[in-house]
Symmetry: C2
Subunit: 229 residues, 2 copies
DNA sequence: AGTGAAGGTCACAGGGCTGTGACCGAGCGT
DNA sequence: ACGCTCGGTCACAGCCCTGTGACCTTCACT
């Protein structure tokens, strides 16, 4: 017997939480609630969810910001709840990686059916993609230069992967911190980042790619395409 | 410009190595040679190959045994070289996870074209499968019980995955050592395995699955289906 | 019941990873 | 040229992972 899908529902209004969780449960979901982004994030990191239902308007930290954080580490479906007038929110939401949205007020049945449809489509996690950058290839579990494995820790690999995915464009400190540590910028963050990237550079240097990573002062770092100075 | 595919060619006959590597290079492959299983394994672990061409008859350690070791950690295409009379070898080779075979003597062009075809089909690594075992779900990067993440190291996760993939059947010490450490049985192996599985059991116990892993005396361990005693 | 082998438990030690703080060099603005 | 900020380098310390060895418990055989 299959276990029910588990949804994380994030909204600061208790009545809305009740409506959403009830609608989902009539469709066979189990659900856990959070009333702000921080507690939602904490729950998300400790349990495995099949769906996240997320109000855009959250206190202190935007629902979209939470959506981005989630997207950095997971392909879990995200369903946004937006206000009727929030056209820009809806566009921003899809750009932040949400899969769908429902506009308030909504019929609970519609939400439940949309949730069910999204989860049904999420049958298999997408195949991990290998990023190619000149002689550098960065997969999900390892990276190589000219076919030779780099000796990198998991943290270092995440950072290198983020740089490679930018296709030669600069990546901000903030994005790198998000990718490497799943945190927003704060004190000490850049110091950790400096050292971690130093270690990645050493590994690249050891396999014949010195000076691959370049600092962009005040912005972040980049992995320029080969042949560019 | 795309880099050439890199092949690992394993054969104990120098003349055969020359024939194979020359044939592959005419098809645009780069190649590295090994004359026995151990040196091949060492090369394989340190570089990333797009293809392995593997003679079945190797000194000291069978080519099939090497094929199995490779398959434990990689989906890289494997092309076997077999003797004309080796029907059972060929069947055993496919069962060991090889993708294709070429029978000696062979036309170098045929080998090259088969190699090219295999590599062309290997476009994307298969999506990682999540194994479900009652309330336990074991993915490639994490495992959960009732949706709650288990705190496991990479080694522990590999072992749990191996047990879960056996669908309630016992898994031998040898298979567990292969999955966890990529080694054959030797002195001290079972001691490490005992301790590592002890740590996995502790984690399962902490999330509500005590006694999940059961020893099968003299054979190995199993993860029986729930409801069986 | 006794014995020996196999499995379970546990703590210790070593190595690797990671965050931190200090120091030095480079770059930019004045 | 100078000063300040930002980036690079490095070593240290703490934590986690892992292999090992010792000891205890359990099980199977006689």
């Amino acid at each position: 017997m299959e276990h029910p899908h588990l949804a994380l529902v994030v909204d600061d209004e208790p009545q809305m939480l009740d409506i959403v969780t009830f609608a989902l449960e009539t469709q066979g979901f189990a659900s856990v609630s959070a009333k702000d982004a921080e507690s939602a994030w904490s729950l998300f990191r400790n349990r495995r969810f099949d769906l996240v239902v997320l109000d855009v308007m959250l206190p202190q930290s935007s629902g979209l910001s939470l959506c981005r954080r989630i997207r950095e580490v997971s392909a879990v479906p995200v369903l946004l709840l937006t206000a009727k007038s929030g056209v820009q929110d809806r566009i921003a939401g899809l750009e932040a990686g949400a899969d769908d949205y429902v506009t308030k007020p909504f019929h609970p049945r519609e939400l439940a059916l949309r949730a069910e449809a999204i989860v049904r489509r999420t049958a298999v996690a997408p195949a991990p993609v290998e990023l190619v950058h000149g002689p550098l290839r960065v997969g999900q579990d390892a990276a190589t230069v000219h076919g030779r494995y780099l000796h990198l820790s998991a943290l270092e690999l995440r950072l290198l992967r983020r740089l490679a995915s930018a296709q030669g464009q600069p990546v901000s400190f903030r994005d790198l911190l998000l990718s490497g540590w799943q945190i927003d910028e704060g004190p000490g963050g850049r110091e950790m980042l400096k050292t971690a990237l130093y270690r990645v550079r050493k590994a690249l240097h050891g396999e014949g790619m010195p000076r691959a990573i370049r600092a962009v002062r005040g912005v972040g770092y980049e992995l320029p395409h080969p042949g560019r100075d």
